[in-house]
C-alpha cells in the first residue's frame, strides 16, 4: 500500500514539473520522473502478487522504451536549440495556429 502512495506522489510531482517547467531540459527530466512512477507501481504490485520473471521482463521493456524516448527527446532539444538559439519552451511559437 505504501508503494502505491509513493508512486502516486512521484507521478503528481513529475506531472507538475511537466506542466510548470519553462525549460526543455527541465520538462524532459520531469518526464523521466513521470515514467519512473508507474514503473515503481508495476514492481510493487508484481512483488505483492508474488510475480516473478514476467514482471521483470515487462519492467525491462518499459526501461528500454523510456530510454528510446529520452534519446529522441534530447536529440530534439539539441536540434531545436541549435536552430532557434533558445531552450525555453514558451519562445517556440513558430507552429502556433
Amino acid at each position: 500500500m505504501s508503494v502505491l502512495i509513493l508512486s502516486a506522489t512521484l507521478f503528481a510531482l513529475g506531472l507538475y514539473g511537466v506542466l510548470t517547467r519553462r525549460d526543455f531540459v527541465g520538462v524532459l527530466a520531469s518526464i523521466e520522473v513521470l515514467i519512473g512512477a508507474p514503473l515503481l507501481l508495476l514492481v510493487g504490485l508484481g512483488a505483492a502478487f508474488g510475480g516473478g520473471a514476467g514482471i521483470e521482463a515487462v519492467g525491462l521493456l518499459v526501461i528500454v522504451l523510456a530510454a528510446a524516448e529520452a534519446a529522441v527527446g534530447l536529440a530534439l532539444v539539441v536540434a531545436v536549440a541549435g536552430r532557434t538559439r533558445t531552450t525555453r519552451v514558451e519562445e517556440l511559437t513558430e507552429v502556433r495556429g
Binding site: A12, Y16, E32, L39, G46, A47, A53
Partner: protein
Amino acid sequence: MTQTVVLWLLGALAVAGAVTVVTTREVMRLALGLGVFLLALAGLFALFGFGFLAVAEVFVYVGGVLILLLFAIMLVHRATPGEPSLTSRHDPFAAVACAALGILFVIVVRPVFPAASGVATSSVDDMGALLLGDMLPHFELVGVLLLAALVAVISITGGEGE
C-alpha cells in the same frame, strides 16, 4: 519491519530527488536530483526482489540517459551570470490538478492492491527464457523500436545539408 523502514527511506530519497528535479533553478542540481531519484528507484526495485531490473535501471538510466542529459545540458545551455539557469511558472491550479490526479491514481489502483506486501522471487534464467520464448515478439519489437529511435536521432540532429 526492516523492509518497511528501508522502503520509506528510499521513498523519501526518491521524493527528494523528484522535488529537486521539479523545483530547482540550477541545471546541474536538476541532473543531480534526477540521479538521486533514479538510484533510489533502483534501490526500491532491489528491495522488492527484482535485482536484475535494479541493475538494468542503473545501467540504462544512470549510465545512459543521465549522461545523455548532461551532454545535452553542456551542448545547449548558456549560463548567464546572476540569473537562474532554469525557471518554472509555478501555478496553484496546476498543483491542485496534479494533486487531484495523484489522489485519483490511488483511488483507482487501491481496490486491486493486495494488503500483504511481498518480495518477488525472480531469477534471470526464467526471465531470459521468457523473453526469448513467449515474449519474443515483444522483445523483437523493442529492438526494432530502438533501431527506429537511433535512425530518428541521427536524422533529427545530423540530417541537414545532405
